[in-house]
């Protein structure tokens, strides 16, 4: 079966029509007209409206030339003032073109394929009659947003700039925080047709070479036509595709990326994604937020404690309600039991159905609230949350205590800022509700233990998910709580940094 699939895949690859693939392998010729013709056919000129070819004469060299660029991704101003103007106006004799134009860097290429690649990335190519090489000048100017505030990972104290969809800007934001020559931004082309560029950022004298090699090997071995952004890339490079737990951290905050880099992690940046991927990720990296360290020791740990409580509430409270009403009514104090029974009196459904009904509506409100157009969003939220909940209770469909439990668990789940972990928690919640419906507290505890065994056994890029807690590694002990900055002496040992001491 597998062999059959491979064979058909090989056949498909053979039959893929690659326009001008034979021309692409050639080098350019001395004859300017021939060269221009090659590129005209490659770029479907003049059908292709934003491809511009400008013929002109260079008086300084006494030669004809042509300039090719894609106008929508290049800066017209630079081309005009720094390239065309000097070339066409300077009359004194010069040996080479570098002496005439006034841009920071140029390069020479003779392979059609490479020239195409550069032009697609925003370079201008100058072909000169009688020359076997084209001159390539980087004049890229892609349109994009400016640097804005983070949308999902908000902080009260700390930097408020977020990544945007331009890799250049994103790398610049990181470099602003790490002014070091060891910060490397290596680039790889990771897709075959769309030629998407991926930047691998790391600090060369900290990162573990084995980890880096592993990451590089994985991003280079992707055999696909297009990878538009990090969300797609994440799914290509992760290890457990069916797991509910994420194994890469997706963050839109450059300060977070920088602090991970400084600990010896690897950061992936791409065009078209207003965030970066941090590898490897542990459970704690999803649990933490950057503000934990910006706030003073006590305040930071206070919000960590709150987040831990929120985590437990959002995972367990509905399940515990189901367990108690179905199995362990003797376990809760008498008055509370009476209160619950009194409200459940008129509800026609069993506890499990009641909770599932309410959880499902909450998830629906949440998902729909996310998709509604912004102007009517708040209205829908109020209708969904307030009126629906109120009416459901009055109609005796659910008991008010269930509304409290579900609302609390829904709200608490927002305390975990990371989107992937948020999903993981919501899915886990349903698993626990079913376990509680089956065998009460025993089901919850057994599932918890099994889940814990799973969590400690999984790895992200060779790093155990629950490290440094279990298995223990040398580190600053930044798990549930953090230490004072002066006592955070070590980089996390599980990423095997070349230099373990921080202070």
């Amino acid at each position: 079966m597998r062999r059959k699939y491979m064979r058909s895949k090989a056949k498909r690859e053979q039959s893929t029509p690659d326009i001008g693939s034979s021309i692409k392998e050639t080098t350019i010729e001395k004859n300017l007209n021939k060269t221009v013709q090659i590129f005209q056919s490659l770029y479907s000129f003049p059908k292709n409206k934003d491809v511009t070819i400008r013929h002109f004469h260079i008086p300084a060299l006494q030669k004809d030339a042509a300039l090719l660029h894609i106008s929508t991704i290049t800066s017209a101003e630079t081309i005009d003032t720094d390239i065309l103007k000097p070339l066409m106006t300077i009359n004194e004799a010069a040996q080479q073109i570098d002496d005439l134009i006034t841009v920071p860097s140029t390069s020479k290429e003779n392979k059609v394929k490479t020239i195409c690649k550069k032009i697609n990335e925003g370079s201008a190519a100058i072909f000169i009659d009688g020359e076997e090489e084209a001159i390539l000048i980087n004049v890229a100017k892609f349109e994009g947003r400016s640097v804005e505030q983070p949308q999902n990972e908000n902080v009260v104290k700390g930097p408020k700039e977020a990544f945007n969809e331009l890799a250049q800007t994103n790398i610049s934001l990181v470099r602003k925080k790490i002014k070091s020559e060891s910060l490397v931004a290596e680039s790889f082309t990771i897709s075959k047709r769309s030629k998407n560029e991926l930047y691998v950022l790391y600090i060369s004298d900290l990162v573990d070479d084995k980890l880096l090699a592993n990451v590089k090997k994985r991003v280079q071995s992707l055999n696909t036509d297009s990878i538009q952004n990090l969300g797609i890339l994440e799914q290509y490079i992760e290890e457990r595709r069916y797991s509910i737990f994420p194994s890469t951290l997706y963050t839109e905050r450059p300060d977070r990326a920088a602090s991970f880099l400084e600990d010896g992690y690897i950061v992936l940046v791409m065009d078209n994604d207003p965030a970066c991927l941090v590898l490897p990720a542990t459970f704690w990296s999803f649990f933490h937020s950057s503000e934990d360290h910006y706030l003073r020791f006590m305040y930071g740990n206070f919000i960590r404690l709150l987040r831990l409580i929120a985590l437990f509430i959002s995972v367990f409270i509905s399940a515990i309600y189901v367990a108690i009403t179905n199995f362990h009514s003797e376990m809760i104090p008498g008055d509370l039991l009476l209160a619950i029974i009194a409200t459940r009196d008129k509800v026609p459904f069993p506890g499990l159905v009641e909770v599932l009904l309410m959880e499902l509506s909450f998830e629906l409100i949440r998902e729909a609230g996310l998709r509604v157009p912004t102007p009517i969003g708040p209205t829908i939220g109020i209708v969904g949350a307030l009126i629906l909940g109120q009416a459901a209770v009055q109609a005796n469909i659910v008991s008010p205590i269930v509304v409290i439990a579900v609302a609390l668990s829904g709200l608490s789940s927002f305390a975990i800022g990371d989107l992937s972990m948020n999903f993981a928690i919501r899915l886990m919640k349903f698993l626990f509700i079913f376990a509680a419906g089956l065998v009460g507290i025993f089901g919850i505890t057994a599932l918890f233990t099994v889940g814990f065994f799973y969590l400690v056994s999984i790895k992200s890029f060779g790093v155990p998910y629950f490290s440094p807690l279990a298995p223990s590694y040398q580190s600053s002990g930044d798990t549930i709580f953090r230490r004072t900055l002066q006592n955070e002496l070590f980089r996390p040992g599980y990423v095997k940094p070349k230099d373990i001491t921080k202070r």
Partner: protein, 366 residues
């Protein structure tokens, strides 16, 4: 043998030791001691621990002569292929019987105390299914989970015992020596096998970082176990007095129902999950030990794959006794009595044979 890079260190082993033996305070171990030692039952753990310390000392002597070799290899080395096989087979029967009987008791605890309407077999199956999953993950993972839950289990146990001690009556201590000094010592020695799990821990030496951390963990673990057993047995005694506590099958669960925390009248909800997690981890370890020894005895290289089958067999054997209240406890007591001589004498025999073979001296000159 599973996760090689993920070896177990001191912390993790202390946690495993505590969960394997310290948590016995929550099952029917205290009643077994109350039965014979009356109100001097709390002295039992001290005598047992002292004897265990001697046994451990001898075992370490033997183990350090064979660096990084586990109990299985040592037994095969010292007794040869056939006699070694028989000894290990007996040990395997011992640990398997302990797993079956204890898991049967634990599912009975869960059903009688918390799920009176649920069929035992369902609880039992789920219990062993969870343990099977954990055991299949390997020893490194068991160590990690144990270490992660260890602080919470210890804290919940200590809180429960401290609150119950507050409700106790100190007069129940007397007469101090219960049935008499000699009786206390004799009966305690017979029940030494309460800590016989230590013998099986020596199977895990190859899974450890080094022998030093194994030794360290064993001593720390022994102290912790002794303290918690003494504390537990004392507090049950002070609450119920020895006559009524003799009647109770599961004093820990009676105690957490009995005690109150201010306005919270039903605190067992707070303690039950922790006790349950510790039980699950405990049987995971038992199941794993049993599987490791079985793997060597019957030459199953990937013994992890045999764990589900083994667990299924355990469940069906454990489910045979119809009335656990009566039969199982007698089985457990008898098992403890049978295991004691093995636990006490095997280390000395190992040591003697190693000495005769000259392996111990070689270690010294090295």
């Amino acid at each position: 043998m599973g996760q090689h890079e993920n070896r177990v260190g001191t912390k993790e082993l202390v946690a495993i030791i505590f969960i394997m033996m310290g948590v016995k305070v929550g099952d029917d171990t205290p009643p077994i001691l109350y039965d014979v030692l009356k109100n001097a039952a709390w002295m039992g753990p001290i005598i047992i621990a002292l004897l265990t310390a001697v046994i451990l000392f001898v075992l370490f002597k033997v183990a350090s002569a064979y660096k990084q070799k586990g109990l299985i290899d040592i037994v095969f080395h010292l007794f040869g292929k056939y006699l070694g096989w028989i000894i290990l087979f007996v040990l395997w029967l011992g640990i398997s019987a302990a797993t079956i009987i204890d898991s049967s008791i634990y599912s009975d605890i869960i059903v009688t105390m918390y799920f009176p309407k649920t069929p035992t077999i369902i609880i039992y199956l789920l219990l062993m299914a969870a343990c099977t999953y954990g055991a299949k993950k390997g020893f490194g993972q068991i160590g990690s989970v144990s270490w992660a839950v260890f602080p919470y289990i210890t804290a919940s146990l200590i809180i429960a015992l401290v609150i119950s001690l507050r409700n106790g009556t100190t007069a129940f201590f007397f007469p101090f020596f219960g049935p008499g000094e000699m009786e206390v010592i004799k009966e305690s020695i017979i029940k030494t096998s309460i800590l016989s799990d230590y013998l099986f821990l020596f199977v895990f030496i190859p899974f450890m970082k080094d022998l030093k951390s194994f030794k360290k963990a064993s001593w720390i673990g022994l102290i912790l176990i002794t303290l918690i057993l003494i504390g537990g047995i004392m507090s049950f005694l002070l609450i119920f007095d020895y006559r009524s506590v003799q009647m109770l099958d599961y004093p820990f669960h009676e105690v957490i129902r009995y005690i109150q925390l201010g306005f919270l009248t039903n605190v067992e909800t707070l303690f039950f999950p922790f006790w349950l997690i510790s039980s699950l981890v405990r049987f995971t370890v038992y199941l794993y030990i049993s599987a490791v020894i079985m793997g060597r005895l019957f030459k199953i290289n990937n013994f992890e794959y045999a764990i589900p089958a083994l667990a299924t067999v355990f469940v069906f054997i454990g489910y045979i006794p119809e009335s656990p209240d009566y039969l199982i406890f007698h089985l457990r007591e008898n098992l403890l009595n049978i295991l004691t001589p093995i636990f006490i004498f095997l280390p000395f025999i190992l040591w003697a044979v190693a000495k005769l073979k000259g392996d111990l001296r070689r270690e010294k000159t090295n």
